[in-house]
């Protein structure tokens, strides 16, 4: 009997809970951080033969069906919600009267042990209440991406008028950023979101920085857990360096034209840092103002002015989605940046690991707090140090001298000095590269998630 009891106990604590993973888009349509994290979790759970389902939101690519808020165009365990056009982004309320019933029926049918939500946009925060109403035993886990619940400015806690960083929300400060609303609107917004957050059992913050901000905002500390998102999937063995490529480096780009052809960025010669070639510092991502692209380009100009030959800055990204005025500014800045900068243009996210392996260090010059940028996870996955702004989630993930270096946020000269220092002493970068610890593997990250799930499920 003892053996049986032990076996049952062991089986219970190792049994994998059934999980419904939710996110506000669908990886078949967009590849943002939240949907990538959700997809990775879903796939990892499936890899453990867990009973798991995915619920995403349709964008423009999927057709809706009259009278059917939920459809399954991508498979039996994959559901797609077709939202209406009236989502209230101020308070994340979903006015679609058909969704609560559809979601309620889904969770009542599936009876998942866990609903792990990676976003409440488009579903609405009321969906947590709907889930509890129709499946009271289901535990709800919410991964927090950005500061959406706190800040109406895309969840970034950056002032709308000055682009200065914001430390703390207040009704008056928020009304100042959004004059079309009154203070009482922000009071109501907070109350509304917090009302439905009461139904969430655990909030996952990928960084302590984020967790602290949400604690200040009013989330109960006992419900907040710091746990890194599932790492982005890396194809193949990511510890080995990429093979040597004999193709010469592409020329510096003028006037914003990408060096790469339509088939993608040209391969770049790779050798160890300090091996008699300029150090290559790579930027990966959206070339938006908040991502600090202007800081990066100005740093390159500064390097030119100082006639620094031991370093180049290589940009892998796209600015075509940015406002026209910003696009013009980027094009002009790139043209003036000189030989220290190489613009490769947009890239397919599936190529990110290959491209990163050809770079010596990844630069993350964001001028907003960031939470746990996917690009940092990707850099660490590929064993590349990160040079980042000294604020927010970036500063927490990157420890100077351990897995990267900091520079003063927003200051191009500070970034330039860090790069110059490494150009003069490339061995330092090599040292950091050598001692860097690899991030959690997917398996280890999944185990951490499962452990969390089990801790909130009834015995």
């Amino acid at each position: 009997m003892d053996d049986l009891a032990n076996a049952l106990y062991t089986s219970a604590i190792t049994a994998i809970p059934s999980v419904l993973v939710m996110t506000h888009s669908h990886p078949r349509e967009t590849r943002g951080g939240a949907e990538i994290a959700a997809l990775t979790l879903f796939q990892a759970l499936k890899g453990r033969s867990a009973q798991t389902w995915f619920l995403g939101c349709a964008g423009v690519k999927s057709e809706s069906r009259l009278g059917a808020p939920l459809t399954q165009p991508y498979g039996r365990d994959d559901y797609l919600y077709h939202p209406g056009a009236d989502f209230d982004y101020l308070k994340f309320a979903n006015p679609d009267p058909n969704f609560p019933k559809a979601l309620g029926k889904l969770v009542a049918d599936l009876r998942p042990d866990i609903v792990h939500s990676h976003h409440f946009a488009r579903f609405g925060v009321e969906s947590f209440s709907v889930i509890k109403r129709h499946s009271p035993n289901t535990r709800i886990v919410l991964s927090l991406h950005e500061f959406l619940a706190i800040c109406n400015h895309h969840g970034q806690m950056v002032k709308t008028n000055t682009m200065h960083l914001c430390d703390r929300e207040s009704y008056s400060a928020c009304a100042n950023c959004f004059p079309q609303y009154k203070q009482r609107d922000f009071f109501l917004r907070k109350r509304y979101i917090q009302t439905f957050f009461e139904d969430v059992d655990v909030f996952i913050a990928p960084s302590h920085f984020l967790a602290e901000r949400f604690r200040d905002w009013g989330l109960p500390a006992h419900k907040l857990v710091v746990l890194e998102n599932m790492p982005p999937a890396a194809p193949g063995h990511h510890a080995a360096p990429a093979p040597q490529d004999t193709a010469p480096p592409p020329p510096a780009v003028r006037r914003g034209k990408a060096a790469s052809s339509a088939t993608g960025p040209a391969p770049v010669a790779v050798t160890q840092p300090g091996a008699g070639r300029p150090l290559r510092f790579g930027f990966f991502g959206q070339m938006s103002p908040l991502k600090g692209i202007s800081v990066l380009i100005d740093a390159a100009k500064h390097l030119n002015t100082m006639d620094v030959r031991g370093a180049t800055i290589e940009i892998f990204g796209d600015y075509s989605n940015q406002p026209p005025t910003f696009q013009t500014a980027v094009i002009e800045a790139l043209a003036e940046a000189g030989q220290s900068i190489v613009y490769h243009g947009a890239y397919d996210n599936r190529d990110v690991h290959r491209l990163m392996r050809q770079i010596d260090a990844i630069v993350v010059p964001s001028v907003w707090w960031e939470n746990s940028p996917v690009v940092i996870q990707e850099a660490f996955t590929n064993g590349k140090p990160v040079i980042c702004s000294d604020i927010g989630g970036m500063a927490e993930k990157v420890v100077p001298g351990v897995n990267g270096l900091h520079f003063v946020a927003g200051q191009a000269t500070s970034l330039a000095r860090v790069i110059m220092g490494l150009a003069e002493n490339p061995g330092r970068l090599a040292e950091i590269t050598a001692i860097m610890q690899r991030p959690l593997t997917t398996d280890a990250a999944l185990d951490a998630h499962l452990s969390l799930y089990r801790s909130i499920l009834p015995n």
Binding site: A93, P97, P100, S129, V130, R133, Y192, T195, E198
Partner: protein, 598 residues
């Protein structure tokens, strides 16, 4: 003794205000030394008046009588043609059927009469009649420009205040001070624009426009006038100006706007009355005109439809009545919060007083039920009528033993707020109204009961104040008596609410209705209290900006004026303060924990 005679022509002369009758009459009637009396018989009644008459020689009846011109005053609006005329003077009686008399157009009749009385016997009545008949008549044209010395008169706005009132906003410049009277005429009615019917207002723009032509002009050349009983539809409306020189000029009034809430806002938007002007202005002009408009617009009981969302309680304990106007999204927030804090034993009634938003509200209501699953009633009024009518409609629909009037911008903080208020209301039968502690979003006090205060800058009228507004309240779990309670959150028994007639709809749009309700309840010997355990957020609208120039502020003054007329003598009476319930300390958690979701 009856006398012979015949009436050959008659007509109603609006310019004179009566009937002008021409004919002949037997000798002797004018020898009577008593007052005469003329009776005109109509199909629907008679009028009796003292006539003005004079006689003249007529060759064709010289053997039996004299020609006669008679004026009989008739101020009625609807007349018809008379059937017969009877004259009585002492023993003298003259009767004439009028079916064969010619009904002439008034100008023709007047011209004819003028020519006849030129030869009439001179008497006091002759003089009167000559003056009447020679007075210039309005022909439809403006004639003020014909005055020897200039007079300028302009009406910027004329509004109808049904049924017969006119509100006028205009100005008059009389550089040489020659104007003797300004009379508005319509049909047989007339009204003087004078100190009892108008107030002067500043029109520096007008003065400045004429300053280069005339010196010494006063900026107080504008006026607001209210003539309560002047207008008759389909009758010619005009102004008659008479000067000290005996000149008479006319100005047509053709553009009359109909009245409604927008009229009220328009009227109030033009006011900027200070200390000395406030009382006079509201007593003479503003108050009566707005009262007339408001009474007219509310003359019919409002129509409404009732929609039920979700499964409502069969016998609700309390009905919460929430008027909705403008911010219908407040309903969404309230329903979201109430779904967590309000027992389904109570009935939630939203009264949409904003017909233009009906469809959006219906959609939002369906969405809210799907999301929050809290049942409620939505009553849609067919017209926007304001706070009092909307709440009264809610009261008519309510089925609870208690009613709680609640603003749409009030949101619960303490989950058991309503249960506390009900407990207080039930515990002490002398309590008629229970209010709540309301706070702003920054936790400072918005309402902890109202007190009354006379404000010297506003005619020493009584206004409701919120003591400690803006301050952080010390934690005090008590029930305390107050002069009044805001309608933003006000609980009373439904029976009592109906007994006092609900909210008085004489107040316009919203203000002072709650104070009035409290006074009605207090007049029955009951008290008002605030239960501080019932704590809610009231996201009160912000201050009105340039308050004293806005229509909204002047509307508050109108409602204050109305409140004074009704309650000023009672409000601060010492007897009111006797026997009020003392501050009641309630232990925390005295309320039994009850499941809030049925």
């Amino acid at each position: 003794m009856s006398f012979a005679g015949n009436i050959e022509s008659l007509s109603f002369c609006s310019a004179l205000g009566g009937w002008l009758v021409l004919g002949w009459i037997g000798f002797g009637w004018d020898d009577q030394q008593t007052r005469c009396e003329a009776t005109l018989t109509f199909a629907n009644g008679t009028i009796v008046a003292e006539p003005i008459a004079c006689v003249f020689d007529r060759a064709d009846v010289r053997k039996v009588g004299t020609g006669v011109v008679i004026f009989i005053p008739d101020q009625r609006d609807v007349r018809g043609m008379p059937q017969d005329l009877t004259l009585r003077c002492g023993d003298y009686t003259f009767y004439a059927a009028l079916n064969s008399a010619q009904a002439l157009e008034q100008r023709t009749q007047i011209a004819h009469a003028r020519s006849l009385i030129a030869h009439a016997v001179r008497s006091e009545q002759w003089k009167t009649l000559v003056a009447m008949l020679q007075r210039p008549m309005f022909t439809g044209n403006d004639t003020l420009d014909d005055f020897e010395r200039p007079v300028f008169l302009q009406l910027d706005d004329v509004f109808l205040c049904p049924p017969h009132g006119l509100w006028m906003f205009g100005w008059m410049l009389d550089p040489f001070s020659i104007v003797k009277s300004i009379v508005v005429r319509c049909g047989s009615r007339q009204a003087l624009i004078g100190p009892s019917t108008s107030i002067p207002i500043s029109r520096a723009d007008v003065r400045d426009g004429f300053a280069d032509r005339f010196g010494g002009l006063s900026a107080k050349c504008g006026f607001l006038a209210y003539l309560p009983d002047i207008y008759v539809p389909a009758e010619t409306l005009y102004i008659e100006v008479e000067t000290i020189d005996g000149e008479v000029g006319f100005k047509a009034l053709t553009a009359i706007s109909s009245a409604g809430v927008d009229t009220i806002k328009n009227i109030l938007g033009r006011l900027d009355l200070g200390y000395d002007e406030l009382i006079r202005g509201y007593d003479r002009v503003v108050g009566p005109s707005i009262q007339a408009i408001n009474t007219f617009r509310l003359r019919n009981r409002p129509g409404y439809t009732v929609m039920r969302f979700g499964a409502l309680s069969e016998r609700p304990t309390a009905s919460i009545i929430v008027p909705l106007y403008g911010r219908i999204d407040f309903m969404e927030y309230q329903l979201a919060f109430f779904s967590r804090t309000l027992s389904r034993d109570h009935e939630l009634i939203y009264v949409l007083d904003d017909p233009g938003q009906l469809r959006q509200t219906e959609r939002l209501a369906a969405s809210c039920l799907a999301r929050f699953q809290h049942p409620f009633v939505l009553v849609a009024m067919t017209e926007n009528l304001g706070y009092a009518p909307a709440n009264n409609v809610g009261l008519a629909v309510a089925r609870g033993d208690f009613v709680c009037f609640l603003n749409s911008d009030v949101f619960p903080d303490e989950p058991n707020w309503l249960e506390y208020m009900l407990e207080t209301a039930r515990t002490d039968p002398t309590i008629g109204i229970v209010g709540a502690l309301l706070v702003f979003e920054d936790e400072t006090t918005q309402h902890d009961g109202c007190s009354y205060e006379r404000l010297s800058e506003f005619g020493h009228w009584i206004f409701c104040r919120h003591p400690n507004k803006g301050f952080l309240l010390q934690d005090g779990r008590d029930v305390h008596p107050v002069d009044g309670v805001t309608g933003a959150c006000l609980l009373m028994s439904a029976e009592l609410a109906r007994a006092v007639g609900g909210f008085d709809e004489g107040y316009v749009i919203g203000d002072f209705e709650d104070a009035d309700l409290c006074e009605k309840v207090k007049a029955l010997g009951r008290f008002c209290v605030v239960d501080r355990r019932a704590r809610l957020y009231h996201l009160e609208r912000q201050s009105q900006g340039n308050q004293q120039a806005s229509w909204r502020f002047n509307l508050t003054l109108y409602n204050a004026w109305l409140f004074q007329k009704r309650w000023a003598a009672d409000v601060l009476a010492p007897s009111r303060l006797i026997s009020a319930p003392a501050i009641i300390q309630r232990p925390e958690r005295s309320l039994q924990d009850t499941a809030l979701h049925g």
